[in-house]
Amino acid sequence: MGIIDVNGIVKKYGEKTALDNVSFSVEKGEIFGLIGPDGAGKTTLFRILATLLLPDAGKASVEGHDTVTDFAAIRRSIGYMPGHFSLYQDLSVRENLEFFATIFGTTVEANYDNIKEIYSQLEPFGDRRAGALSGGMKQKLALCCALVHKPSVLFLDEPTTGVDAVSRKEFWNILYRIRSGGVTILVSTPYMDEASLCDRIALIQQGAIFETGTPAGIVSEYPYGLLAVKGKPVYPLLQFLRTCDGVVNCFSFGSECHAAIDSSVTGCSRLQRELSGAGFRNFSVREITPGVEDCFLQLSIRKRDGMR
């Protein structure tokens, strides 16, 4: 029994299935990441857990309270930060915070300790309208508003989308400090590189979860060997690698190409020979350990092929 329990949740919008039999469970005090692209169903799932939507089938509970029958209890104990910074743009930083404190039946002063760390960075701009803040600052204010009533569970729907890399890093550091206070955090993100920052993750695409586990655990189950090939020009290189024996699939990763290989057929040196033979120059091939993104790619391909 976790803090958040999701059991066979199904949600349909007309013909379209937004969530298809989703199940997972989040333990107390962990940062659980829901990793998936736009349209995967992350926001729908968040809304169901925040008691804003009713599932068509399945059950979910937060701290033992059922999301359908016991929604009032959940609403008292959670902090929710919807996607796209839902704040009042025409109210000042302080007015926003005070308003959200009041409607949750508390005051900023009473819970100042809880938000001090983040809010101290915002305080110099207390009189500024929320709409005039930068992306990173807005995000911090939204987090403050979600934290101001000392929730024990925090739902953050894509808090880092559209935020630059520096602010994102800062934001994650804030999340770690919140976690150390015993708060359970469910966070969603389309950025694969943020997956490794979570304690545990679920990979979700097209309404279905295809893997749940720790980032390290998911990576360790990667079924192939992985080679990073670097060379130019990229497009012909990719095309060539895909034709090589023993290469299962091949995708570009930044300046490199990641080739998933069947280690019993091919390897580093054989691929090097083949590339030289094909006339490629100034390339390098090295063996690497896969990342979450490699796993996501492989799992989504496997799922798609399995459906065919």
Partner: protein, 370 residues
Amino acid sequence: MREFRSFVTKEFRHIFRDRRTVLIVLIMPVVQIVLFGFAISTEINNARVDIVGDLSDPSVRRIVTRIDNNGYLNIGKVYKNTADIDGRFRKGKADVAVCFENEFDDKLNSLGTASIRIIGDGSDPNSAQMIVNYVTGVINDEQGDIDVAWSGTGPSGSSTPAVKYMYNPGMLSSYNFVPGVMGLILMLICSMMTAVSIVKEKETGTMELLLVSPLKPVWIIVSKMIPYFTLSAVNLATILLLSRFVMHVPLRGSLLLLVFISLTFIVASLAIGLLISVISSTQKTALLISGMGLTMPTMIFSGIIFPCESMPSILQYVSDIIPAKWYIIMMKKIMIEGVGFGYMVKEYIILLAMTAFLLFVSTRLFKNRL
């Protein structure tokens, strides 16, 4: 209670920080009253009357002088041939033409009857009707005088009824439109603004946050309504002051009764606004629904422009479901006729029932989920 107060404060902040909207809301009643009062007046002023006939004919001249003396009518051009009327109408130089038959005076004196034809430019039926009525009235007066002049005593063959408009002797259209504009403005401010402000929160996503808070939905509704209720009250005062002191529309009945009924109507409008916010998901939809679905029918069916009585009966039934219609009827009774509550019990009960129904439906439909 603290939650509630802070929510209402926030709503007022939204309103007052959006200066343009506040300005529009506060100035709109003034503009509407002025527009209806001076520009879109349905009274006839300076209608241009062409005369077709012989001005040297004494009877013709007498009638023409009478027309010219009438404050609402001006003589345009005098010519001899009816064929020219068409051209004058087409150029928009005349509104009506009065044609006297040849040798009018002789025929009138020898045969006791002579014919006059009145030709109106019917392209705008409402004003044409009214101008023709005016002209007919003037000619009838003349005829009455002729009768008197002839027999010396007592009425003779033709008689004209004396008409007096009891509550609006001057036939001022302001008596009609001021109550109408009151209905329109209150409807507009309460319904449209409430709907838009709620839907805006849906659109920006803040509604999600309000819903997951322990705040009861009913308090969200009430706190959304209060600021617009206040604004409407300000508007009501503006309209009443303007109509009393600028348009000189009397307030013959009780002010207290007027305010009491207006408040009922405001609540009904707020409930409609809430209903619109429930069914629309974007501000644009909310604006369209309240604009096309409320303002237009209110204008058309509430009798501001077209009298309900002259509509086909099916449309009259439709007009019965417009709350503003009943409100406006009551306002007219209070302001113009100066009667008491006893004369509008039926209308008030209808309005109250509508209000209760709308409030019930809209609060029931307002979900505490998305």
